[in-house]
């Protein structure tokens, strides 16, 4: 048998290519390099557990299986020890690869995130509605008619129909909370930033909730049905959070108040009916004998009344679209019947897209504006904060930085050149100078093509914006290399006097 030569066993470890000019990566997942290991040694982190924490060597999902031997060998070389003397770190399960799906099990997709449908979902589907996910809810985005090429065409038609005739929109998804008790008014005074206790029976009011840090939490309407009975709405997205917050206020902060709250979102099917013909449409679903005219049932009126032939419903004279509008609520089992009746009376269904266009035309904030960073003053609602009562967020809302007139304030923008589209998320920078972070003066929060006005419009937060109406700026989208010259305008684009509301 031939003997092997001694030189064939002369294998040497090559942990690092000497004199390499490139980066020498040790941990490919956490980007730890050979110089990082050397630095750790110089800093005194020579113990393996220290080396690991100082450099993140071996902390990635492979738990060092691709990197630790090299890293520990380099440390051994740095400290003049053997690898065995240097030691090894603890690595954690999974020791062998496990598909993430095994951890997820049954909790995937629809089984993880439930779907909520409104009582008129099947009706809307039969009308050809295209649905969009809004949180857990499926909401109709638009109702295409034959011959309409795309969603924009359908949305434009729906907007123009509401502004010239009458449309209706399923707003069942708004959170609804019933607030009852001798101290219900006092409780709402504490929860909302604006005054509620003095709200007259049979009236509704816009309500603004702050967080305890003084920033805006949520908004909605508050209606008083009796001296001890209020019904409030929350945004669709925040319904659960507002309920939990209100229970915290009731149970922990104000146990002295005699009040009960109950979430009743699913008890009611609710539709906004909006447009110059809204009164005639609503009158056709309300039982005879109830006067819903301007004198008996003016803007911001609210009442329980029979409709659809003896069904105990609720009617609110509130408007999100800026048109003369009502919100009609019936117990959920009658939701589909109400949709049919409104449709039969000549109202055209409109979806979330048209609703969004019209609220931008009126400068109403939604989730894109109530993003957790805005104060009431930023939204132009600073005067709503009551000075006569204690409420959640009152103290912190008065912090000097939140009252700074240079804070980004909500304004409208429109392109200087006709036909130019705007983009949400674009940054607002001055006409001259570079478009970089140092010159950033705000951002565009919402945009829409306004069929009413025939051009694009947007809402933007601009530093000191309320005093810059008429100024021109650039809305810049560096990601796509696009920019548009825009003029700062009032955030109320349509009917700034609000005369349409009173019909």
């Amino acid at each position: 048998m031939p003997a092997s030569g001694a030189e064939s066993a002369g294998i040497e470890a090559l942990w690092q290519v000497p004199d390499s000019q490139g980066k020498a990566f040790v941990d490919f997942q956490n980007d730890v390099t050979a110089p990082d290991v050397a630095l750790a040694a110089r800093e005194g982190f020579t113990a393996v557990e220290h080396l690991k924490r100082y450099t993140t060597l071996g902390m990635a999902t492979d738990q060092g299986k691709t990197s630790n031997v090299v890293g520990l060998a380099l440390m051994a070389a740095q400290t003049g020890r053997s690898i065995a003397q240097t030691g090894t770190t603890v690595f954690r399960p999974p020791y062998t690869p496990v598909a993430v799906g095994v951890f997820a099990g049954h909790h995937r997709g629809r089984d993880f995130k439930p779907t909520r449908l409104t009582p008129a979902h099947a009706w809307a589907k039969a009308q050809g509605a295209v649905f969009v996910e809004a949180g857990e809810w499926m909401r109709a985005a638009y109702f295409p008619q034959s011959g309409e090429a795309d969603w924009q065409t359908s949305t434009n038609r729906e907007v123009l129909t509401v502004r010239s005739a009458c449309g209706f929109c399923d707003v069942t998804t708004l959170g609804k909370i019933d607030v009852q008790g001798p101290d219900a008014g006092k409780f709402l005074d504490f929860v909302y930033a604006n005054a509620m206790a003095g709200l007259a029976v049979g009236r509704a009011r816009y309500g603004l909730m702050l967080r305890e840090d003084g920033l805006v939490f949520d908004d909605g309407t508050v209606a008083r049905l009796s001296p001890t009975h209020f019904v409030i709405t929350t945004t669709t997205a925040n319904a659960g959070r507002v309920l939990r917050h209100m229970e915290f206020c009731r149970q922990v902060l104000r146990p002295d108040l005699c009040v009960c709250i109950e979430p009743v979102t699913d008890q009611w099917a609710q539709f906004a009916v909006a447009g110059p013909h809204a009164r005639r449409v609503v009158a056709s679903v309300v039982d005879p004998g109830t006067d819903i005219g301007n004198a008996a049932f003016p803007f911001m009126a609210a009442a329980e009344m029979p409709m659809l032939g003896g069904v105990a419903g609720r009617l609110f004279r509130i408007s999100f679209s800026g048109e003369m509008a009502y919100e009609v609520a019936v117990p959920a089992r009658h939701g589909e019947a109400l949709a049919q009746a409104l449709h039969a009376a000549g109202a055209v269904p409109y979806g979330l897209e048209a609703l969004n266009v019209m609220r931008i035309e009126k400068g109403h904030p939604t989730g894109a504006e109530l993003d957790g960073r805005t104060s009431a003053a930023d939204l132009g609602m600073g005067k709503m904060l009551s000075t006569k009562k204690e409420f959640i967020g009152r103290a912190m809302a008065q912090r000097p930085a939140l009252l700074d007139p240079q804070r980004p304030q909500l304004v409208g923008i429109k392109p200087v050149a006709g036909g130019v589209a705007l983009q949400a998320g674009a940054h607002m920078v001055p006409l001259d100078g570079p478009a970089d972070a140092a010159h950033d003066q705000g951002h565009v929060s919402s945009v829409a093509y306004s069929a009413t006005l025939g051009h694009w419009i947007g809402l933007a937060f601009v530093a000191g914006g309320s005093r810059r109406i008429g100024e021109r700026m650039r809305a810049v989208n560096p990601l796509q290399g696009r920019e548009a010259e825009v003029e700062i305008v009032s955030k109320v684009f349509v009917d700034p006097e609000g005369s349409r509301l009173h019909g």
Binding site: E247, F248, R394
Partner: protein, 76 residues
């Protein structure tokens, strides 16, 4: 981790949401800015027993529990 709701009894933590330090007391109206900053922002981060408020989704009760933050053992 399991907690005991005063209404529903012992339940898994999946049914609860944490509301943070239970020892905080909301300042009186007119309290100093420092008192509000303390209430709204400042939190101890103890390694050990910590009194917390938790919300039970099922019955909508806010409850107070003492949890050992090192072990998630609920002590009270």
């Amino acid at each position: 981790m399991r907690m005991t709701c005063p209404v529903c009894g012992e339940r898994g933590s999946e049914e609860f949401a944490c509301g943070g330090d239970a020892s905080r007391v909301r300042p009186e109206p007119g309290a100093s800015a420092e008192a509000w900053v303390e209430y709204v922002y400042m939190r101890a981060n103890p390694a050990g027993p910590h009194s917390e408020v938790w919300y039970h989704h099922g019955c909508r009760t806010w409850l107070t529990v003492t949890r050992d933050t090192r072990t998630n053992t609920v002590l009270v």
